[in-house]
């Protein structure tokens, strides 16, 4: 499923919420912005210049999707440390701060296979702090989170924006951002994958 006739901008410190029914393309749009999928037509701009270097774009964004990308054989700390090393960002202090923020400090040396669904999701979100980047792309980030964690996420997003960071998130639940723009995807006509349907 794709969409036609869609355009938007995001400034430093800005936030955008994608809303729409199932199948309206929220996830697809986030993956397009991350550079994981290629648009059939259309362009992605960064600082008013077309993105010609998806790798450089990837260095500036963090995508947290439905799948948590956690290795259950590793401890919570090892999971965070691996991604920080892999992306070449972050330092040990940030890893501790990330675990503190999302209430994982007590679990730091527990193997991830013992975590509950909510704890796993918090571990995935903790990567936002452990390896900081300007643009966050979050797909339904409040799913499986309790009220306390949702509050922590709201605060984290607010702090990130206060430092000039940007957030795009898909959501159909609680309000995680104040201000920011809302993009309702159900206004756009879904079209079939190929343009050459002739009926």
């Amino acid at each position: 499923m794709v969409f036609a006739g869609l355009g938007f901008e995001l400034a430093a410190g800005g936030a955008m919420v994608l809303r729409g029914p199932n199948g309206s393309g929220k996830t697809t749009l986030l993956r397009l912005m991350a550079g994981l999928a290629r648009p059939v037509a259309g362009r992605l701009l960064w600082s008013n210049a077309p993105v010609e270097d998806p790798e450089a774009l990837a260095r500036r964004l963090r995508f947290i999707g439905h799948q948590d990308a956690i290795k259950t054989a590793f401890t919570v700390r090892e999971n965070l440390a691996f991604w920080a090393a892999f992306w070449g960002t972050g330092e040990p202090a940030l890893i501790d701060r990330a675990m503190d923020t999302f209430g994982l400090a007590a679990l730091a040396d527990f193997p991830a296979r013992l975590l509950s669904a909510g704890q796993r999701h918090r571990l995935a979100l903790a990567r936002l702090i452990a390896s900081p980047v300007p643009l966050w792309l979050l797909d339904e980030p409040a799913n499986a989170l309790d009220d306390r964690s949702t509050g922590a996420l709201t605060n984290t997003i607010a702090e990130h924006r206060a430092r000039g960071g940007m957030v795009v998130l898909a959501s159909h639940g609680a309000d995680l951002v104040t201000g920011g723009t809302t993009l309702a995807l159900d206004n756009f006509t879904p079209t079939a994958a190929q343009q050459w349907v002739e009926l």
């Binding site: 994981l36 790798e55 990837a58 999707g65 799948q67 990308a69 956690i70 590793f74 892999f86 992306w87």
Partner: protein, 221 residues
């Protein structure tokens, strides 16, 4: 390079923690090889003639067993998306994965092979060249195998399909790997066969990572 070394060390540590996976592959290698004396009879003459081929075929099948785990786990838990978003190049990810697979599967197979060759009565001249041929051939096995594993990500009956895609491409390695050992046993120079194996490894190293990276990005899309 940080992405490369981080991923390599992660895969090695994972393999160490889940060492049962690697051990299963080695156990399969041993059992498959040991079946042959029962199948063709214990006569030393017959066994020593087929020893080189049997060890190679069993090694290829054992490697095949390990292949579907190369990318599938990362694909299913969402790690693959994050690996592609590494900010450098997907080829680096592929190279780290292939090297990790070779170290955790290829090297144990090489170490086990002389032991199994003894049970097959391989003539004593053959051991050195057996190890050398496996050393030159198994990197190709990992490179081609990783490509196959990336192509079948998310496919129905992925495991069967993987063997259909990968085994035919292993035929050259098998031919020259066995031929090198046969040549040495029959008193011929094995050097041309070994340099072909090395050549195949280089060609695979030049072509497979790019194709694998493309296949991985397709799978994530």
């Amino acid at each position: 390079m940080s992405a490369f070394s981080a991923l390599l060390s992660r895969d090695l540590r994972l393999a160490l923690r889940q060492s049962a996976d690697s051990l299963t592959v080695i156990a399969f290698f041993a059992i498959a090889t040991v079946l042959f004396p029962f199948g063709v009879g214990p006569e030393a003459e017959v066994l020593s003639r087929i020893a080189a081929g049997v060890v190679w075929v069993a090694a290829l099948l054992a490697a095949l067993l390990s292949l579907d785990r190369v990318f599938v786990v990362d694909f299913e838990d969402g790690t693959l998306d994050q690996l592609i978003l590494n900010g450098q190049s997907t080829v680096l990810v592929v190279l780290a994965k292939v090297l990790a697979h070779w170290l955790t599967t290829g090297v144990p197979l090489i170490i086990m092979s002389p032991v199994l060759a003894v049970t097959l009565q391989l003539p004593s001249e053959g051991y050195g060249v057996l190890v050398l041929a496996l050393l030159l051939g198994t990197p190709t096995v990992s490179l081609i195998g990783a490509l196959g594993a990336a192509l079948v990500l998310g496919a129905r009956r992925g495991g069967v399909l993987l063997s259909l895609l990968v085994l035919p491409l292993y035929i050259p390695v098998l031919i020259f790997g066995t031929a090198a050992i046969e040549a040495t046993i029959t008193g011929m120079p094995s050097q041309p066969m070994l340099s072909i194996l090395a050549g195949l490894a280089l060609i695979a190293a030049a072509l497979c990572p790019f194709a694998t990276a493309a296949a991985l990005r397709q799978a994530a899309e």
